[in-house]
Symmetry: C2
Subunit: 334 residues, 2 copies
Amino acid sequence: MSAARPITLKALAQQLGLSPSTVSRVLSDPAGRDSKWAAPETTARILALAESSGYRPNPYAASLRTNRSNLVGVIVPRLQDYVLATIYEGIDEAALAQDYLTMVSNSLDVPERQRDKAERLLSHRVDGLIFGDASAANLPYLDELSGRGVPHTLVSRRVPGHVSVTCDDHEGGRLIARHLVASGRSCFGVIAGRPGTSTSIDRTAGFLDELEQLGVPRDDVSLISGGFDTPAGREAALRLLAERPSTDAIFAVNDFAAIGALGVLHARGIRVPDDIALAGFNDTALAAGVELTTVRSPMHEMGKRGYALLVEILGGGTPESELLTPELVIRATA
Amino acid sequence: MSAARPITLKALAQQLGLSPSTVSRVLSDPAGRDSKWAAPETTARILALAESSGYRPNPYAASLRTNRSNLVGVIVPRLQDYVLATIYEGIDEAALAQDYLTMVSNSLDVPERQRDKAERLLSHRVDGLIFGDASAANLPYLDELSGRGVPHTLVSRRVPGHVSVTCDDHEGGRLIARHLVASGRSCFGVIAGRPGTSTSIDRTAGFLDELEQLGVPRDDVSLISGGFDTPAGREAALRLLAERPSTDAIFAVNDFAAIGALGVLHARGIRVPDDIALAGFNDTALAAGVELTTVRSPMHEMGKRGYALLVEILGGGTPESELLTPELVIRATA
DNA sequence: CCGATTGCCACAAACGATTGTGGCAATCGG
DNA sequence: CCGATTGCCACAATCGTTTGTGGCAATCGG
């Protein structure tokens, strides 16, 4: 019932007839078995007792002394979003491998919430922050953090002036455009996602640039903004069909929006891809489930790199932003 | 560039000409404005300076002294799973409201990983744990935790001997069965999910019990186990169609598996629900997207209650497990 | 053979909070 | 008017680490 108070360093030292300092140095020496802080035999005794007694250093005492927490905070729009959840998994995996722990919070893409969550994390003295929700709307806060010297990196979305690791979204948009044109489509609709986010902006820009390059008149493509989720996709698809019935290809910049669109196409009895081709973005697990043509973005890798760059910054480095390469995944819908 | 060292309590006290103890008591008194630890005017001065100087108590120093961290650890099978992500959001929301922070980790439903992640969290001195991945396979570890006096609760899945908050899965299964029979179905397939988990076991048991009660011969229903995700659903559906072509209704105990099944039905040109009715479970966002008939389980609420019960335990209470009531959501597929 | 290294280890001062104890003045009760 | 209470506050110990400094013996170089 009563959770026994964990063994302390002092207790360990006492049992060993040593001073806490020696035990501490040996235990925290990365060299481990052959640390130079004690005689080999002493080192062995320390390691053995630490192991058998199940000693766990109290991280609070350590952090208090060292002023480092080995904790990184992560802010995402929403963990329910498969894409961000996957990126976070990548972050967490990389962090765990270095004995860092992570804490994650949802910002719901609203700036004051982002600020609130981030400050909360900072109150808990995280060593650095990783943002998955950067956008034009919260750029001021990010800039403030830079000014305050708070180490941070961005993943998934980029904004000017901050180190980020993102998918080459522009290129991703081009890939889709090329594929749709190659398969004979001529009247395009873009479900463009949330305004002010680089994922939305870059993907549609890439799409438009490639179309232009391929000689498609700008008049033959219509854009609809909204959100990244399924309901947003439904709504956008409805508007698209209403405003331009001649549409024969739809590019949703996010798989979830694409699935929403797919729902209305099915409901209308529109055949996919025969009547209208549909493509998404990200290659989430669901995309495979519904045979959706999409672009694979290396989400997991993005998280790992985002963490790695943060560590570089924490170490005093000044890394460059990274662009990960996307890959076209052709399935049944386009 | 250099992150200025945060203001300390001692510094505050010095500027105020008071002792740290007084400042500490006033600041941490929930009564706030009218705490009885100092003269009203003094209290006001303290509060004012704390505010204007942006004082943030160092949580490590506090935890070291109080032996409490105001941190709870959460273990889920996988955050990519919308269901668990939503439950976690509920946990986190409830925790934040009480100034608790949460840390979450994936166990991938493998027992040694669960143990590893949980121990890691315990090393960081979380006050308690919430498990979203309880199953027959890791029951021994959960029992061990009970023995060690580690406060914990379960969400989503239940297991004997541990306090949990789950959906009334048995009842949920009954709801689907009743609906399918009422709409004239007679040959049933169940995509049963991961063996050893209560969500799988209870939902199919409820389904079978209700069918029996409605007079459906046990021979007219076939069960297929596997996993909870989309690929598992695909595979199960394929087997189902092969083994029993007369099937006219499928109950997948999870929306994602259902969507996998939906994919193969579409691919085979089988009309839903005309040829085969399909129902899922959980009412995830995707279910609405594909017009899937399903059972709504209160995921967010589950998280909040799971946290609340943990707090009760931390306070020395001994709460009962809770069963949240599900709700049938009829859409297009059944 | 003697002074300088080197190997091994202990002392003690932090880190920044919380909290038991106690002191002094002003006010109260009778 | 006097002893007891109350209001307001300070002292100092403590939580469990890390780390600068230094001491003693054994070994080394010349």
